[in-house]
């Protein structure tokens, strides 16, 4: 059975080939498609079993990471994408893709929020409902720098995420971002992410307890590295599992026992298998 995976391209997206390799190794059949093709209807999302929004700097990220591609998603792909998510098909947003999903209001999805969190300044708000319900964002790293380093990720056992199932041990993958710090507008929002099972992945150190810098590379709230939607079929994460699919991609492969594959492949395999089960 062919699992067609749409890898969304856009100006400035640059890890589309990496994501395609990971999907291929996981048993999927990836196609890299420009967002313009989907927006104009030349390609239909509905013809695909899975969607990946890869990393990069969509449109340069000049207005905040992912902002403009989020506008594309909300305004040019709106109904197609809503239907795709509602159908329960797997969606993975990585790094810039995660930022895009958050800023488009797709992650963490419609969560009840106290209205005080929506004070958007003096402007009378006329944003779309998706943006208004955004309780969470990704912003500048605590270090105020772009950083590229390897981190350890643990799946949150109580998560609703369908794509991190079976991750019983921490996995090692790289991060490469400058705006990956997850913040919420008030503490209640953070608690509700956890309570509603929307935290999918956390940064962990080598000992129990808060990861601390640099194990948590960006200062994210509660060491959160990835979120899912309430249905569990949309996963967004800052780290790059697609750059940890081959044995020699690991940073210490010359000094450790040989691996058969990279740690990150399991996420893509989960997604492809889940797509096949639909």
């Amino acid at each position: 059975m062919t699992i067609r995976v749409l890898i969304l391209r856009a100006p400035g997206i640059n890890r589309d080939q990496d994501a395609a390799l990971a999907c291929t190794l996981a048993g999927g059949t990836p196609e890299r498609v420009h967002v313009n093709r989907v927006a104009e209807g030349a390609v239909r999302l509905a013809d695909y079993a899975m969607l990946v929004i890869p990393g990069g700097f969509s449109y340069g990220d000049h207005l905040g990471a992912g902002r403009l591609l989020a506008v594309d998603l909300a305004h040019r792909l709106g109904e197609q994408l809503e239907q795709f998510v509602a159908d329960g098909r797997p969606v993975i947003g990585i790094c810039n893709g995660f930022q895009v999903l958050v800023k488009a209001g797709i992650l963490p999805g419609p969560v009840e929020q106290p209205s005080a969190a929506h004070d958007a300044g003096a402007t009378p708000s006329s944003a779309s409902p998706a943006l208004r319900r955004m309780p969470v964002t990704l912003t500048d790293n605590r270090s105020a720098r772009f950083e590229c380093r390897w981190v350890r990720l643990a799946a949150e056992p109580s998560s609703r995420c369908l794509l991190t199932r079976g991750l019983s041990h921490p996995i090692e993958v790289p991060v490469a971002h400058g705006e990956g710090r997850l913040v919420v507008s008030d503490p209640a929002a953070g608690a509700s992410l956890q309570a509603q099972g929307l935290v999918a992945l956390r940064y962990v150190g080598t000992v129990r307890g808060p990861a601390g810098y640099p194990a948590n590379p960006n200062g994210s709230l509660d060491d959160i590295a990835g979120l899912c939607n309430p249905q569990g079929n949309v996963l967004g994460l800052m780290p790059h599992p697609e750059n940890a699919v081959l044995p020699q991609q690991h940073p210490r492969w010359t000094r450790e026992p040989a691996r058969e594959e990279g740690d990150g492949l399991v996420i893509f395999r989960n997604a492809v298998q889940y797509a096949a089960s639909l």
Binding site: G55, H62, D119, N243, P251
Partner: protein, 996 residues
């Protein structure tokens, strides 16, 4: 035009006393408040972390604005005409949201200052006058000034009536010719100006402004490399006492030739660099290297295309190019480095290859230079470093090209003239790069629009910098737009695979003039300038023709493919325009709405420049032993010396810089720049596995050491080739299948002493390349790296040669890293050690040469043994016998051993008497003799290792210890013993003075 001001402020308090806000200036004839509100909400701020307010820009609204809590306010914006990427994206977003009426958008930064802050001092730190403008005011005041400031930012450029001017050259005398050259920033000398005059006298007319600019650009040092192609008279025979007797003439043929005394050379590039490649490839044809395919050449393109190209595997080719962007980086570090990276990436696109890795080598003044020592107009080295690193990071990361290799050097000689070397490696299917321009092909320009930016970049780089450079040639400095280049990349690779073009080149220095002039050199070209898309109105025709606006490429597209090509560009949001066609009349014809701007014979343009004649006079340096710091006659304890060496900015960890570069994107970086147990050790070379399904790899290495160049550039060149090869061999690269590149950064070649050094370095390149069997496949020179202060005194940079090496790795699974792997392993030193302390870093660490009475020599590569030694080590690594390997470079054996301990979190016990009981400890520990490595071998593998290495000078020094302690001793006497934790602290502290 209605104008609105949007203020976006962070909710979080600022980390320091100064807080920053983002302002957006929005304008449009039909722009209304409702649209501004929509943009503010959906596009311009993130409500979770920011607040946003907006107001119409009127005196009343500004007066009623809530006053920010600040003592004073600074607002900074890019000057009109300078790339404002953020503003452009606001326009793009508005289009996507269907917001009509927005015509202009500019982004500004506003800084709110506490009472104790000095606005003038802060502004000087925060902005670059060349490209930015600012307004300072007290909250609530200066309303009229603010309105005028905002209006000026969005005011349309002055309409200028396009006109083609004539330059009265035919009757100009020599003084007048020189004045025309100087005042026009033409950088042409008298002989060249006379040749131009003669040409137009024969034509019976004066040149247009466009013609004289086209000639100056084509004949510029940057574009024609006239010093490297000059006739050179070289004199001087003396050898420095530091380099000893003349070595074997058979191994050093070019050194021997220079030793003849009075030598005349016709073109350094032909005599030394291209000749070396020819010699290496002929020797290889006579005696193939294992793995050579007799039917397919290994070197596919050397010194011809935009980048050098070699074969990789059966179906691919790999290209590499290294460029410099020095002058712009001195004036505007971020923009200079940013556009430098963008330029070299386009060179690789210009051979139809997909960029897969970047390398960057950066040379700065000392980070602790006192501010009062700086010449007027010179930025502080720490600021230059921070800006350059940010520029490199921004472009490479946004293009999705991993930055995997490089170096950062500091020397007082780079204070006024920093160096920024940018390199890119690319891969393409074999034979995918077309190079057959046909008359009738459309000339298509695609990518960014053309503006007034970058005028005179090619000629500006051919002059020395002065304290007024910023004022006179500021337009040569630009800000890059990486996303436009990423879109170019995406569209060009598709066009290549669909074979939609017949030739391609990048639009770099010299702009369209250079790109079209070179592509049409063999046939002819005709361009209608009015078709060139512009950023704004008001450009003169010659400015459109010469502009070096970034992110543009020029293609030759056959007429039958033009429609398909333009459609592809539209699909990917890339602007592409046919601006003319290639012809068969051998002329370069450029017009503007029918009026001729340029009409020149290609033959005159490309072959009419009189060959330069340059004098070179070599005088061997006397090396005095009184240099260095610290008390005279004192040599501090060896452990103290080692700790200070580890903290030397040239040796210290570059992790803070490397971490800001994405080295993981593309997933092919199998040996990373940072390696070891904690992933913080300094890897020697980086290794890429470009094709995930195949085990072959590419190793990248760099060699550079200007400290040797100050003594003798000949031996510097050998050391640089040796170091680049050590870096690739140490990780598993095959020295028998390694191609190299030269990049010379030098002072003014018209000064005979500078030219003599250049001759000696080029001669060294020949001798090294031939002896190692490594062909040069590409090279570049950046001359005139001098600063002339207001009193007229000139300072040249140290002679600086970067050698980059690109090596084939047969199987990446055999690669090794430099971190110690396990206690109990044996440690061998490969290569002989001499008293090679001239130019060594140990003198910077507090040891005074006056206190050392032993022999002293410049590091000299032994060409008789080095090649065989590298080949044997490569066989041992390929056989899986080596656990760790690290090359010895700056700081010698002690530094290399310390780095291996830090990276492996293990200790070492090394007995240096095992080598030479009589050697002075400074020699044993800190000599910088080339061609040496430390390797870690499992005791069980030692016999096999020693068998493979038979015939190579090699010494067993000791073992790896579980205790994290570096202990170097002679017999029972410890020379030094230091905890690895202390080594790490020292090594990681060395760049603390640079705020990244």
């Amino acid at each position: 035009m209605p104008l609105f001001l949007v203020t976006v402020a962070p909710r979080e308090p600022p980390p320091s006393g100064v807080s920053a806000q983002t302002l957006y200036l929005l304008g449009g004839s039909a722009l209304e408040g409702e649209a501004v509100a929509l943009l503010t909400d959906t596009l311009l701020h993130d409500p979770v972390v920011q607040t946003a307010t907006w107001l119409p820009l009127t005196a009343e609204a500004l007066a009623a604005e809530p006053r920010p809590i600040a003592s004073s306010v600074i607002e900074i914006a890019y000057r009109p005409g300078v790339t404002d990427n953020t503003g452009e994206m606001v326009l793009e977003g508005a289009r996507r949201l269907g917001v009509a009426g927005l015509g202009q958008a500019r982004a500004l930064r506003r800084y709110l200052l506490p009472p104790d802050a000095d606005p003038e001092a802060l502004a000087a730190q925060l902005m670059i006058e060349l490209v930015q403008t600012r307004l300072s005011y007290r909250p609530g005041e200066a309303i009229a000034d603010r309105l005028a400031f905002y209006q000026a930012l969005v005011a349309p450029p002055a309409e200028a009536r396009p006109r083609v001017a004539r330059v009265p050259l035919r009757h100009a005398d020599d003084d007048e010719l020189l004045r025309i050259s100087r005042e026009g920033v033409l950088a042409l000398d008298l002989a060249e100006m006379r040749a131009v005059r003669a040409h137009f006298v024969a034509l019976g007319r004066d040149p247009t402004d466009g013609e004289i600019e086209t000639i100056a650009q084509t004949w510029s040092e940057h574009c024609s490399h006239k010093s490297f192609k000059a006739r050179v008279r070289y004199r001087g025979t003396a050898q420095s006492p530091l380099t000893g007797d003349s070595p074997d003439a058979a191994l050093h043929p070019m050194l021997n030739r220079l030793a003849q005394g009075d030598v005349e050379l016709d073109s350094l590039i032909r005599t030394f660099l291209m000749a070396a490649t020819t010699q290496v490839l002929e020797a290889r044809a006579r005696q193939p290297v294992a793995g050579d395919d007799p039917d397919a050449p290994w070197v596919l393109s050397a010194f011809v295309d935009n980048a050098g190209i070699i074969a990789f595997g059966p179906d691919h080719e790999v290209s590499i190019k290294v460029e410099t962007h020095n002058h712009p980086s001195a004036l505007e570090p971020f923009g200079g480095a940013n556009t430098g990276v963008g330029g070299v990436i386009r060179d690789v696109l210009g051979v139809s290859a997909e960029p897969i890795a970047n390398l960057d080598v950066l040379c700065f003044g000392m980070p602790d230079t006192p501010a009062e020592d700086l010449q007027p107009g010179v930025l502080h080295p720490a600021r230059v470093a921070a800006g350059v690193v940010a520029g490199v990071r921004d472009y490479g990361n946004k293009l999705g090209i991993p930055t995997v290799a490089g170096a950062v050097l500091f020397d007082p000689g780079y204070t006024a003239n920093p160096l920024v070397y940018c390199g890119t490696v690319g891969i393409a299917p074999r034979g995918a790069h077309p190079r057959h321009v046909q008359p009738g092909d459309a000339i298509v320009v695609l990518g960014g629009r053309t503006g007034r930016d970058g005028i005179h970049g090619a000629t500006f780089s051919s002059e020395e910098l002065t304290h007024t450079s910023a004022a006179t040639v500021g337009s040569a400095v630009q800000i890059g737009d990486p996303i436009t280049e990423k879109k170019l990349l995406d569209v060009l690779l598709q066009a290549r695979d669909r074979r939609l073009y017949s030739a391609i080149t990048d639009c770099g220095a010299g702009g369209l003039s250079s790109a079209v002039g070179e592509m049409g050199a063999e046939c002819g070209a005709s361009v209608a300038l009015e078709r060139v898309p512009r950023k704004y109105a008001g450009l003169q025709p010659w400015e459109v023709w010469l502009s070096e606006a970034q992110e543009r490429m020029v293609l030759a597209v056959p007429p039958q493919q033009l429609e398909a090509f333009l459609a592809l560009c539209t699909e990917e949001d890339v602007e592409a325009t046919a601006i003319g066609q290639f012809t068969d009349d051998g002329r370069l014809r450029v017009s503007h709405h029918g009026e001729p701007v340029v009409d020149l014979a290609m033959a005159f343009l490309h072959d009419g420049r009189p060959q330069r004649m340059l004098e070179a006079v070599w005088e061997a340096q006397e090396y005095t032993r009184t240099e260095g710091q610290g008390a005279p006659d004192a040599i501090p304890p060896l452990s103290e010396l080692l700790l200070r060496l580890l903290a030397h900015p040239n040796i210290a960890s570059k992790e803070r810089i490397v971490r800001t570069y994405d080295h993981e994107v593309r997933g092919a970086t199998v040996i990373k720049p940072l390696v070891g147990a904690r992933m913080d050790g300094p890897g020697d070379g980086a290794v890429l596995q470009p094709l995930a399904a195949r085990p072959e790899g590419l190793a990248l290495g760099c060699g550079i050491n200007p400290r040797y160049g100050k003594i003798d550039p000949y031996w510097m060149a050998l050391a640089a080739v040796d170091e680049a090869l050590r870096n690739v061999v140490a990780v598993g690269g095959d020295p028998g299948r390694t191609a190299i590149l030269d990049n010379f950064c030098w002072g003014d070649p018209r000064q005979p002493d500078r030219m003599a050094g250049l001759v000696r370095a080029a001669a060294g390149c020949y001798d090294a390349a031939v002896a190692f069997g490594t062909p040069f496949i590409s090279g570049k020179d950046s001359l005139n790296n001098e600063y002339r202060d207001s009193s007229g005194a000139r300072v040249a940079i140290p002679p600086t040669l970067l050698i980059s090496a690109l090596a084939y790795v047969p199987d990446v699974r055999r690669c090794v890293t430099m971190d110690l792997k396990r206690a109990g392993s044996l440690i061998y030193l490969i290569g002989a050690t001499g008293p090679d302390l001239a130019g060594a870093h140990v003198w910077d660490a507090g040891a005074n040469p006056g206190a050392y009475s032993g022999p002293l020599a410049l590091p000299r590569v032994n060409l008789a043994t080095a090649r065989a030694s590298f080949a044997a080590l490569h066989r041992a690594i390929s056989a899986g016998l080596v656990l760790a390997c690290h090359d010895l470079s700056e700081g010698g054996l002690a530094v290399a051993a310390a780095e291996m301990c830090i990276a492996g979190d293990l200790g070492l016990a090394l007995d240096v008497t095992a080598r030479d009981a009589s050697a002075h400890p400074l020699v044993a520990l800190f000599s910088e003799t080339p061609s040496r490595f430390l390797v870690e071998i499992d005791p069980a593998a030692a016999p096999a290792f020693e068998t493979i290495m038979a015939g190579v000078t090699m010494t067993r020094l000791g073992t790896v210890t579980a205790e994290p302690l570096l202990r170097i001793h002679t017999g029972e006497t410890d020379l030094l013993a230091l905890d690895v934790a202390a080594l790490r602290v020292a090594w990681q502290s060395g760049l603390d003075g640079i705020e990244l």
